[in-house]
């Protein structure tokens, strides 16, 4: 064999040996591959891989494990119910709301942060009827207004005299106890639906937004039902109340009772009609009060002074548009002269107030089913609501230049389930004084 051939053989042997060495080392150097898979490790789609947790049939041990988990869960729940979770003897729903605002006014000394009101409300069933919905329920409330005194607000029982389960039939209920009077729109609309921070002047000046102790019967006729939307609107709604007439948290100051009534007619149309949300209402309030000459009380407990209010309202509320208008006349008997009931010369003071409000919404705040979605997060439909309101009050129509007109422009921002932020700018023109008073208010209204 020539030297050349031997060299080639040796070289070849060396090369083969080196290759074998490399081959021997390779399994340790390369990452492991899935058997039968051409995709390199780390790149394969793991979402389609077999889930080992779900492999195989359920065994006796698996069942025992599930039973043990259930028993532990039951034990944990019992302990929590016993130690840390509040409970009551009857069904209980707790809610509340508060208003915190900052107000600035052109009047001196009338600026600053203000805690306007706080309300806590407890409601529930005392006896629930599943057959016809003739249930007994209760409402108890505590509230504090700008005077910072915590007082009972609502304290009444409610009973459904008529059935309340079938939406195609009329409803009839009765409330007994201290409750809000139901006169007109401004005094009865709940805070979450009122565009403006302050209610109309006539509502507070005529005592329409206050509570009183008494009994109220209310219900409706001719319900129009649109099953495609779970929508129900009665053609006629009515309310008739009998009250002490003395106000909140006070016993009756005279022998007479005040009577209040309201009838509202709703457009009898289905959900998809452009007339949905149109309502015309009329209200009255008649009672008696003590006789005053100025601030001096002439009678005490004998009433005998006329107190009456009459009102009419028109509203069109169909998201995103809204319009409300209300007119109220008040009649209060006062003594012009005299010191006793016998010698007092009396006169009726007629007062008048009216208000008009326009509002518009961008967002789904006032769509019932948009507020009721299945969500993982704490989502709420963000909604913006600008509005403008004109509010006129004349305390004595027999006198000239004593009216007050307040024009309010504002903006409401709904961003959470029970919270809204309000901005109001009011231009107040009180003809009794030479000054125009403007004010700006920013308010958070929150609840739970």
């Amino acid at each position: 064999m020539s030297r050349k051939k031997i060299a080639i053989l040796v070289l070849g042997a060396l090369l083969i040996g080196h290759a074998n060495l490399q081959a021997a080392e390779t399994p340790e150097a390369e990452p492991p591959k899935e058997t039968g898979s051409a995709v390199p490790f780390g790149s394969e789609d793991l979402t389609t891989a077999e889930n080992l947790d779900e492999a195989g049939a359920v065994s006796q041990a698996d069942l025992s494990g599930v039973r043990a988990e259930l028993a532990t869960l039951s034990d944990q729940l019992t302990q929590r119910l016993d130690k840390t979770i509040a409970n009551s003897k009857r069904s209980l729903s707790i809610s509340g709301s508060s208003q915190t605002r900052y107000a600035v006014s052109t009047s001196p000394g009338k600026s600053g942060f203000l805690f306007n009101s706080a309300i806590l409300s407890l409601k529930g069933f005392l006896k629930k009827d599943y057959e016809e919905g003739k249930s007994f329920s209760y409402t108890l409330g505590l509230g504090s207004n700008a005077s910072y005194n915590l007082q009972p607000t609502d304290a009444y029982l409610q009973y459904s005299i008529g059935q309340s389960l079938d939406i195609e039939k009329p409803y009839l209920s009765v409330n007994i106890g201290q409750q809000k009077k139901q006169f007109g729109l401004e005094a009865t609309t709940t805070e979450d639906k009122q565009p403006a921070i302050n209610t109309a002047q006539f509502a507070s000046k005529l005592g329409l937004s206050s509570r009183d102790i008494g009994i109220r019967l209310y219900g409706d006729f001719v319900p129009i039902v649109d099953l495609g939307y779970n929508y129900r609107i009665p053609l006629i709604e009515y309310s008739l109340g009998l009250y002490n007439g003395s106000g909140t948290n006070v016993p009756d100051t005279n022998r007479n009772k005040d009577i209040e009534g309201r009838v509202a007619i709703n457009a009898p149309v289905g959900y998809y009609s452009p007339w949905r949300g149109l309502t015309f209402g009329t209200s009255f309030y008649r009672g008696q009060q003590d006789l005053y000459k100025g601030a001096t009380l002439i009678t005490n407990g004998e009433g005998e002074a006329v107190k009456s209010r009459y009102g009419a309202d028109l509203s069109y509320v169909s998201a995103p548009l809204g319009f409300t208008a209300e007119y109220v006349l008040g009649r209060d008997e006062k003594a012009l002269t005299g010191t006793t009931l016998a010698n007092a010369k009396r006169a009726i003071t007629t007062s008048r107030g009216y208000t008009v409000t326009f509002f518009y919404e961008w967002g789904e705040q006032f769509y019932k089913n948009s507020r009721s979605q299945s969500r993982n997060d704490d989502w709420w439909p963000t909604t913006f609501q600008p509005f403008i309101r004109y509010d006129h009050w004349d305390p004595d129509t027999s006198l000239a230049n004593n009216e007050t007109a307040i024009t309010t422009v504002g903006f409401n921002f709904f961003f959470a389930e029970t919270t809204k932020f309000q901005l109001n700018y009011s231009i107040s023109d009180d003809k009794a004084t030479p000054l125009k008073q403007n004010s700006f208010a920013a308010q958070f209204q929150f609840g739970f």
Binding site: Y130, L165, D226, Y229, S370, Q373
Partner: protein
């Protein structure tokens, strides 16, 4: 030069058409769906699978179109309100709620059924009520939810035995309240979906169900689109439908039935009831057949006529007013499903 000038208006028209075509795409496609008993924002079954796979998102990613889903706890009525308020473009709901909505003038059209199956109806009775047959329901207090397929199916059952809602004391109750009312003897019987825990507990008895009498089952639900969206974006509408049809194709495969049941359990269904509900059911290829056939149109027309007869809706209308047939057949053809779901 003259030739140039003559060509200009045509060129301008062509240019504007191209621009218009290029611009005719929505920024977002809003899809509504019914909620579930666990209030989870997810669907089950065919559409649940489409959502899980992100098929709609993948289909419209290249167009830059976002997909927005809303799950309404109020089910069909919630979607009707959303349509009335212009909040969704597509949805899927049961037959009766679509008929009621259309009767009231809602501007939507059905573009596909969500299967031929329909839902079963169960009548559970209080053992102490003395009800042994359907005719014994006369004069009894029966709880059911009005405006749902349960309401319509129950009316059909009453009609078949010569009765009407006037012959019973109907109590309008949602499912949870109906179960409670039956447990407390406040009603003698309830009409429900497959959920029957009281029967399992021995508190109530199962009197009747449509697994044995499929002619009384609920009708086929449907996928709908607003008229405005379909007319403005017909191509997009067809693409949405094609994507959803892939879900029905997947659901029609026998090997996927267990996965469908699991998805229903994850959204609040009871496994035992779901399995039992399938006894006597159609084959999956029939149950999830989305074709709008003359048979489907006939069923819907019968439903409209029956609903008018029973006072559930006031306006009688032709079924063609409820359907838009431009998309179903072409979508099935383009996917090759016309050879899969063949109708003689």
């Amino acid at each position: 030069m003259r030739k140039w000038i003559k060509a200009l208006p045509v060129a301008a028209l062509l240019f504007m058409t191209v621009i218009a075509q290029a611009e005719e795409k929505p920024k977002v496609i809003r899809i509504g769906a019914g909620g579930n008993s666990l209030n989870l924002p997810k669907s089950s079954g065919a559409t649940g699978w489409v959502d899980e796979q992100g098929l709609l998102e993948k289909e419209f990613a290249k167009d830059g179109i976002k997909i927005e889903r809303t799950f309404y706890k109020a089910m069909g009525p919630g979607q009707n309100e959303a349509i009335a308020s212009g909040l969704i473009d597509f949805g899927s709901a049961g037959d009766l709620v679509l008929v009621v909505g259309r009767a009231g003038g809602l501007p939507y059209k059905i573009i596909s059924t969500s299967g031929s199956g329909g839902s079963n109806v169960y009548i559970q009775v209080n053992p102490a009520s003395g009800i042994k047959s359907l005719k014994d329901l006369k004069g009894k207090r029966i709880g059911y939810q009005k405006g749902t397929y349960l309401h319509l199916c129950f009316n059909r059952i009453l009609d078949a035995i010569g009765l009407s809602e006037k012959d019973i004391k109907g109590v309008n109750l949602i499912n949870a309240d109906a179960q409670a009312a039956l447990a407390t003897n406040s009603v003698d019987a309830i009409v429900s979906n497959s959920s029957r825990p009281l029967v399992d507990q021995g508190v109530a008895k199962l009197l009747f169900d449509t697994r044995k009498y499929p002619q009384f089952k609920g009708g086929p639900g449907a996928i709908f689109v607003t008229e405005a969206f379909a007319n403005k974006y017909p191509d997009i509408t067809k693409r949405v439908l094609k994507t959803l049809l892939k879900g029905y194709y997947w659901a029609s495969k026998p090997e996927n039935q267990e996965a469908i049941i699991q998805s229903q359990v994850k959204t609040g269904g009871i496994y035992k009831h779901i399995k039992a509900d399938q006894i006597g059911d159609f084959e999956p290829t029939v149950k999830y057949d989305p074709t709008v056939t003359p048979e489907v149109l006939k069923k819907y027309q019968e439903m409209i006529d029956f609903s008018v007869k029973r006072g559930i809706i006031r306006r009688k209308f032709n079924v063609n007013e409820l359907f838009d047939l431009r998309f179903n057949e072409p979508a099935l053809k383009e996917l090759g499903y016309d050879k899969y779901w063949v109708h003689k």
